[in-house]
Amino acid sequence: MGPAIRLQNVGLKYGDNVILEDISHYLEAGQCHVIMGPNGGGKTSLLRSILGLTPFTGAIDIQWPEHKGNIGYVPQKATFESSLPFTVMDFILLNQSRNPLFWRKRKKEQDHALAQLDRVGMANRTDRRMGQLSGGEQQRVLFAQSLLDNPDLLVLDEPTTGMDEQGVRYLESLIHELVRENKTILAVHHDVSAVRRLDGQVHVVNRQLVDSGPVSEVLRADKIERLFNHYTGGNVSTLNPAQGVK
């Protein structure tokens, strides 16, 4: 079972630039939560705050059901130098084992790595250099990496960026599978039709929490344009007050 996440008065500033302001919210356990909003609205910053990757004000509590579980994370991108002989299998094993890459590789670890790559359709590209993969292929490998520890909370930052249709299908079916297993998924996404297919809870962030609820309620044709307007100082928060904090 995945955790619930409670946000209390979460704020984030870079110098004088306010990124997030007084966000209080509760994300239910075992559901797929999609964070949406305009560019620069603070989606990734909110995700990074939840993961503890950036300093913030307020409080974020990841409420594990029993004991602390595993977190899988797919960043928006990672930089892989194309000239470095660093393969797909190297990257997966690096995340999985303390056994150094220049040591003899254990069959069990390789099999586990291969199984995760197979889940994202990359099992036949284990010998390719990470830096020579397309952006979409790199995203798939990053996704396979996040599945290594059978995560209870999966955090995805724009996971389909640069991905082809087949990659998107792999990803969506895996997300559905994980939700069925009661894992909590938290994803930043920008593609409205893809989010509709995920059928989870949508939270629109534009410095503040603008709207929140099931896809069918939030992503209504009459609301979308207003929700994705850039922050204009005070107007946004009055568009549609966030649902009550539990």
């Binding site: 993961l51 990757l53 000239s83 393969t87 056994n99 040591w103 590789k105 010998d127 990496q145």
Partner: protein, 291 residues
């Protein structure tokens, strides 16, 4: 060491080894090369992956200042190990500390630190010039196999052993920390700790290499075998092993060849020339193969 030297003498007597192996300094130098080569080559792959080539160069140059400082503070001119160790370690940690707290590009910052260390070293050398002769300075800058003692070998063996013991269980985490610090943090790895640990390993191996490779050229030996192996290998495992092998072969040939050919070349210079010739050969091979 006496046993190894005895075996070497037996090899010379039996005609398997050349006459030069009857000199104990030659045996010492070969042992030092065998200890140092794999470590420099292996660590070099991480230096390349982390883009710290210029940093390792700067630490090498700081060794000059460390030696001058040690002599000035009363250490023996032949082996001012405390001054060398203390200054290089403070220099490296301070540089890394400032790097994490400034927006100045890293290469610019390293350039500033390197220039400062050299300037201070040059200034201090004037003060200690009466205590040392000019050949000692040459040895520090470019390495000399003649100066390697049993005590140096002991320090080298301990240093290499410690670094290897630390490197093997942390290699993957150090590499992940540089490739994706965010993933490493989410996995619960102390990324800052692994960064500083690597900086300390580079500094230690640099200090240990000063006598054989020299302060000016040690950074190059951390870089060139790795750069060569990168051209010839297809995955990280073979990259590390090939780099370690090339560094060891370079150290051995660079140590033995000048003695055999009676060339008055410092060991550090010979090692780097051999290493660079491998790099050029590998580059030509790649160019020809790719058309």
């Amino acid at each position: 060491m006496d046993t190894i030297r005895h075996w070497a003498q037996l090899g010379v007597d039996a005609g398997w080894l050349s006459e030069s192996f009857s000199y104990s300094f030659m045996v010492n130098a070969v042992v030092a090369a065998i200890l140092l080569g794999p470590l420099l080559g292996g660590l070099g792959t991480l230096v390349i992956a982390k883009r710290l080539a210029f940093f390792s160069e700067a630490v090498g140059h700081a060794a000059l200042t460390g030696i001058a400082l040690g002599v000035l503070l009363g250490e023996p001119a032949e082996n001012p190990i405390i001054g060398l160790f203390s200054f290089c370690m403070i220099f490296a940690l301070l540089l890394h500390f400032v790097r994490n707290r400034t927006n100045v590009p890293y290469d610019t910052l390293v350039g500033v630190f390197l220039a400062f260390a050299l300037a201070v070293g040059a200034a201090l050398l004037m003060y200690v010039a009466r205590k040392i002769n000019i050949h000692m300075l040459e040895n520090v800058l470019f390495g000399s196999i003649l100066t390697i003692t049993d005590y140096d070998l002991l320090i080298l063996a301990v240093t290499c052993g410690v670094i290897l013991l630390v490197l093997i269980p942390t290699f993957n985490r150090i590499l992940l920390t540089c490739i994706s610090p965010d993933i490493a943090k989410v996995r619960g790895y102390a990324t800052n700790f692994y960064d500083y640990l690597f900086v300390m390993m580079i500094t230690l191996v640099t200090i240990a290499s000063v006598k054989i490779v020299g302060a000016v050229l040690v950074g190059a030996l951390l870089l060139i075998p790795g750069a060569t192996a990168r051209l010839l290998t297809k995955n990280m495992g073979s990259f590390v092993l090939m780099s370690a092998l090339l560094a060891t072969i370079s150290c051995l040939i660079g140590t033995i060849l000048p003695m055999e050919l009676k060339l008055p070349i410092p060991s550090g210079a010979a090692i780097i020339i051999v290493s660079t010739s491998f790099f050029l050969t590998a580059t030509c091979y790649r160019i020809v193969r790719k058309g």
